[in-house]
């Protein structure tokens, strides 16, 4: 295992220490491992928190700050955080008008957030949870764990954070989060596996001429393993199932998010973006906003994901609103 770490058991703690050292103007870290916006709690403002396993950086800690998250709860690498963290985060950001929990749809995340929400409500803090499940690689069903929460989470955190910053109430903020969830879909692929520090070896083996289509963000294998293909072919494999969902149509304006999995250089992401743009033009869909970079990752995995979000004036305005976090910043 080749990593710039000291001890797998201390990696997340040391990462947070580094983040605070670098971004002390934006964030602070409280026990037990919660990244909190430096000026939280803000009385009268709805608190917005999220969390999940570590190894997806900059998500979620890198999105804590003005106009986005009020707190993030990082678990061990690829392991959802514990209820104590979400409880501490909820307390720390409660401005008296309620707290939104943005939860990615993984059994562990959902159960741990649920436990925390119960405890916070028992303390009299109003909590609403919205679950993000945008990964079209997973066939949805009432009888399964359902779809994974992936790229749409980043977009939801930005948009919802802007609404909360502007003073929207909990019901409005939660409604916007569901709106993003309903209008966003994602699909990802991997060229390589990644290595969980505590595990010490790659999560899966893969041949030099193979790739995984339909992966999540935890180094897990995807829906199918196929022969390596060109960037254009791969982009087709990612965009087609998203469009097949039938929520993006001719004349629509979308936000296109081309995300790197951690080990893929920007050079390649722009080649993919170029093809996404070409495919959507062909369908009469225009990209009015975009995000290209590694924002929701699987450690050092090489690969990418594409997320499309249908935009209207409200979502566009909230996306454009000022944001100032370690990983996303504009308008300020």
């Amino acid at each position: 295992m080749k990593k710039l770490i000291n001890d797998p058991a201390r990696a997340v703690d040391e990462e947070l220490a580094g983040m605070v050292a670098a971004h002390g103007d934006l964030i602070r870290v409280i026990e037990p491992n919660v990244v909190v916006r430096a000026d939280a709690p803000r009385p009268g403002k709805v608190g917005v928190i999220s969390g999940g396993g570590s190894g997806h950086e900059p998500m979620h800690g890198g999105f804590v700050g003005m106009g986005m998250l009020d707190a993030a709860c990082p678990g061990a690498v690829f392991t959802s955080p514990v209820p104590e963290q979400m409880l501490a985060a909820t307390r720390a950001v409660d401005g008296g008008v309620g707290v939104l929990h943005i939860v990615k749809n993984y059994t562990g995340d959902v159960m741990n957030f649920d436990l925390a929400a119960e405890l916070a409500q028992a303390e009299g803090i109003e909590v609403t949870s919205v679950v993000i499940a945008d990964d079209v690689a997973v066939q949805d069903s009432l009888y399964t764990a359902g779809r994974r929460g992936v790229g749409a989470t980043v977009l939801a955190e930005k948009i919802v954070g802007a609404a909360a910053e502007s003073g929207a109430d909990l019901e409005t903020v939660a409604g916007l989060c569901r709106k993003v969830q309903d209008n966003a879909r994602s699909m990802g692929m991997a060229l390589t596996s990644c290595t969980v520090p505590a595990a010490g070896k790659p999560t899966f083996e893969i041949g030099d001429d193979e790739m995984e289509i339909g992966i999540g963000i935890h180094g897990e294998p995807g829906r199918r393993r196929v022969k390596l293909a060109s960037a254009d072919e791969i982009t087709e494999m990612l965009v087609t199932p998203i469009l097949d969902e039938g929520i993006f149509g001719r004349g629509d304006q979308v936000l296109a998010f081309v995300n790197g999995m951690g080990g893929t250089p920007l050079l390649e992401l722009y080649i993919v973006y170029r093809k996404v743009d070409e495919i959507l033009r062909g369908r009469g869909i225009s990209i009015s906003r975009n995000l290209v970079g590694s924002y929701i990752t699987s450690l050092e995995m090489a690969g990418c994901s594409v997320t499309l979000l249908k935009l209207d004036d409200e979502l566009t305005r909230l996306w454009d609103a000022p944001v100032h976090t370690p990983a996303l910043r504009w308008g300020v």
Partner: protein, 209 residues
């Protein structure tokens, strides 16, 4: 015949030890159909539990298991944290203040634990989860507890292993393995494997009594 709290503590310690020994294997199983952390998660949780046992050995059975449940919930994370945490919390609630429990009480508590896991995780038999090992084990205990305890505990451990293996050929409908669709078929479930270790530890810890 009754089981004093220190025996129940011995079961918890033995389970912790078996999990530590199986850390790699459980993580391996989880990398095939999950995210390569089940062994790491369980080992992290139960080494924390080990640090908490002092002082609880001669107290109430309920206090012991509640502490185990709370510790797991606050240290494991993932899916297995809340599930095993709930399991032990329910055990604790069921056994209450008594410093020694009858086999019947213990089995009833294990049933309460299983119900807690199902309530929290909504898994059904055949979904390919820990529930597929836990359910037959509890049933075996309920059937055998009237007779020889050692035999009943042995039957439970065997039933857990059989339940674990029965779902190996299946696709998963809960947990991360469900994302793999057909690709999960043929792989042994990590959680069902750790649950089997639990009932084996119970058998080996109580047999001595």
């Amino acid at each position: 015949m009754v089981i004093p709290t220190d025996r129940l503590a011995a079961f918890v310690e033995l389970f912790a030890q078996r999990l530590h020994e199986a850390r790699e294997e459980l993580t391996q199983l989880d990398s095939a159909i999950g995210d390569a952390d089940h062994g790491i998660n369980m080992d992290r949780g139960f080494s924390a539990v080990n640090g908490e046992l002092a002082g609880l050995r001669d107290g109430a059975a309920g206090a012991l298991f509640k502490k185990v449940g709370m510790t797991l919930i606050s240290t494991v994370g993932g899916a297995s944290g809340p599930l095993y945490g709930t399991f032990f919390l329910r055990l604790g609630t069921a056994l209450g203040d008594s410093t020694e429990v009858t086999p019947e009480q213990l089995v009833a508590a294990l049933r309460a634990g299983l119900d807690g896991v199902v309530a929290r995780g909504k898994a059904e038999l055949g979904d390919k989860t820990m529930v597929d090992a836990m359910t037959p084990a509890v049933v075996a205990l309920e059937e055998g507890v009237g007779g020889d305890l050692a035999a009943a505990l042995d039957a439970a451990a065997v039933a857990a292993a059989e339940g674990r293996d029965r779902v190996t050929p299946l696709v998963a409908r809960k947990g991360r393995a469900s994302y793999l669709g057909e690709r999960a078929a043929g792989h042994q479930d990590p959680g069902a494997t750790s649950t089997t270790l639990l009932f084996e530890a119970l058998r080996d810890a109580l047999r001595a009594s």
